[in-house]
Amino acid sequence: MPQVTLTVNGKQHTVEVEGRTLLVELLREKLGLTGTHVGCDTSQCGACVVHVDGISVKSCTQLALQADGTDVITIEGLAEADGTLHPMQEMFREHHALQCGFCTPGMVMTAIDLVQSHPGGLSEKEIREGLEGNLCRCTGYHNIVKAIAAAHPLMHAKAAE
């Protein structure tokens, strides 16, 4: 079986995978990182979003082999070593932007990329359009939009430090 070498949350792994193994299967089944979820089989729901080389990617839509040599961050890799939450995680908690928690990892990873790629600010409409690829069945999105808007200045202030 072919091997793939990649860095996940700062730690390098070399894993044997089948050619058809998806990145999400590698993360969940080979590395035990079950924070990344699978909610559909048509690349619609976004529960599986992770960052590959800093860009949000649906890990159900990328082969594990394609991730060879990349730097992957999953929901497990966001908080600081002492447990301090990432500002996006903190704002999701503060604004009750999650209920069952299943879509949350993908939603948070998408939201972080959205904020990072809009340093000049994000309107409510831009946030809603930016969440096109992420489904949530619990919250009605209202508080997710609020949380992302609140995280934007915190993240950019932190980046400026």
């Binding site: 089989d41 619609q44 928690g101 949350t104 489904l135 069945r137 009605g140």
Partner: protein, 793 residues
Amino acid sequence: MGFEGIGASVRRKEDVRFLSGKGNYTDDINRPGQLYAVIKRSDRPHATINNIDVAAASSAPGVVRVFVGADMAAESIGGLPCGWQIHSKDGSPMAEPPHPVLAVGKVRHVGDPVAVVIAESKQAAKNAAELIDVDYTDLPAVANLTDAVAGGAVEVHDGVAGNLCYDWVIGDKAVVDGVFANAAHVVKLDLVNNRLIPNAMEPRVALGDFDTSSGDFTLYTTSQNPHVIRLLMGAFVLHIPENKLRVVAPDVGGGFGSKIYHYAEEAIVTWAAGKVRRPVKWTADRSESFMSDAHGRDHVSTAEMALDAEGHFLGLRITTLANMGAYLSTFAPAVPTYLYATLLAGVYKTPVIYCNVKAVFTNTVPVDAYRGAGRPEATFLLERLVDVIAHDTGIDRVELRRKNFIPADAFPYQTPVALQYDSGDYQTTLRVALANADWNGFEARRTAAKDRGKLRGIGISTYLEACGIAPSAVVGSLGARAGLYEVAEIRVHPTGSVTVFTGTHSHGQGHETTLAQLVVSQLGVPFDQVEVVHGDTAKIPFGMGTYGSRSLAVGGSAMVKAMDKVIAKGKKIAAHLMEAAVEDIEFKDNVFSVAGTDKSKTLTDISLAAYVPHNYPIEELEPGLDETAFYDPKNFTFPGGCHIAEIEIDPDTGVVEMVNFTAVDDVGRVVNPMIVEGQVQGGVAQGIGQALLESAIYDPSGQLLSGSFMDYTMPRANDIPNMSVATENTMCTHNPLGSKGCGEVGAIGSPPAVINAVVDALKDYGVRHLDMPATGAKLWSIIQAATPRMAAE
């Protein structure tokens, strides 16, 4: 640390876990030596199974076993039971055809399980399932209600004539007909409540485990009610006694009703684990969820209201066809009867009501309770009918509602359809909603929209629902085969911290937070010293689970009752320790004190004495401080309120934009306002989904056309507006918390508000009624058809 008791928007205990990727969902659990199950499902809507050839699959790489229906039948494995029995108007019990776990003889819907492959990997099982050769003879199929009840329609189940499960009535037809005969006006409306697919974001998963040393079975499953699954599967399907069967429902990623029911896959993996003596896991693909999770709604109704000359409602007459799908799911028969027809008084003092419901089998996925379950169907029918009455009679739609409301001083109010409402104030929720939505300023906004080329509409819905399910004796008399009480155990530990064991189940509702807040308020224990445990039959005494907005009203009440027992025992211990009479002991904010003195003991002093009983009234009291209570509610609870939707239609595309949504709900006592608002927002989004986007579509042959997220339109962030959510609460009078429930109100009140707004926007186009979903294509066609006529006028 601020106030963390009842009424505080405490941030949720469960969130750090979920936000860090440390949730423990069923698919995250793996057992040593685990095998994987893949289910071969019927691709035919209706067919005879002539033969199932599993030879190639059985010898495929990695395959351990392949099972078919005959293997289960050979061991007398029972069919999936139905939890409710309805009787037809002639007194006969409903038709209750067998629901085999794996199909035997025939398949009856696309997705019906035919065989299961157990293999070393999911991929191996998938590959082998492709090798199973099922020889079918196709049969004609019926997918929709009107086809299924037409003369000469094929029978979904042999011997179930006319595909009729039951023909049920409530009310006196002769009396209602008499009222109609003498009415000044009669307004009639035909309407459809569209079929929905719940689509909790976590697909269903079941993992069966068998302990070869003890002979014990464990099922890990995505369930809203693990004890109910243990009871149904153990007693009726697999014949495993409760002491040998543990059911665990860990973190569950949304349910909305679809994870209440006992599903075939739970029985398959548990049974198969025993056969192969290794753990067996099944995880649904989303496509599989579409054709195996119970669907919701799917009614076709005719509604008529008799009115006097001033617009007072005199009588309501309704006939409804309700789709059961191919088999009876756990709660299915109750949904269009006791959760629907009993709600048809709504918030109105309509004196007489008659409703006839025919439940019908079709070659479709079973239909069962989905967020609101029967109440959204009743509310959509009533609130559309009221708007159509306003349209036909020219009476203002708000005035029409006001003049027919049950007044706030009329409670308790006995409706003509069995329910007795305990409290409510519909004029107030209406008044506040009208103000919050700036109803009076709407015509200016309509004009401004028109100037931009948009058609703007506003719609209102004044609704009521029944939840806090349910008094056992009442539902028993109505056909329920179980009680619907709830159970709580309050364990005060030796050093004063508390663990709550609740029979309710949290799958997004935030019970670990809300229920802890009850302990903060009742026992004065700090929030961070309270742990809530749910979802495991090995830990929790018993429970009926979470659905019907019952967790706080019923489960919370059980907790209050158990905490009352803790306090009562604590007072006896305190009286002994402080050498006082029990009657003189007071308890407040974690402290037992002797009235009129400065003597006091904390709850921790008392719990320590209870577990280290060196100085203890041991002759009279057992050691320990751990109390259990079963609470059976005295009545349903009756949340209600007013929802207002404001929309704009682009006439060039027909697409509806949700501009504003205002909800003012009466949910009784609110424990955590932040969580209540979230529940309402989520429910409203599902209601908007039903009204504008979602619909499960079968073609006439019974193929599910909307079978993936590519085809079934889920609401996305851009489809849902910012919402104004508020409460104006009256207290429930019959439970100790005063809480009514908030889980379903959003999905119940919102669909008619949205459709009423769409119809309002199209009032110049001759639209009197529209069925859901109001898609762009549907509205564009209406606008196109009407435009030449309007131009000619």
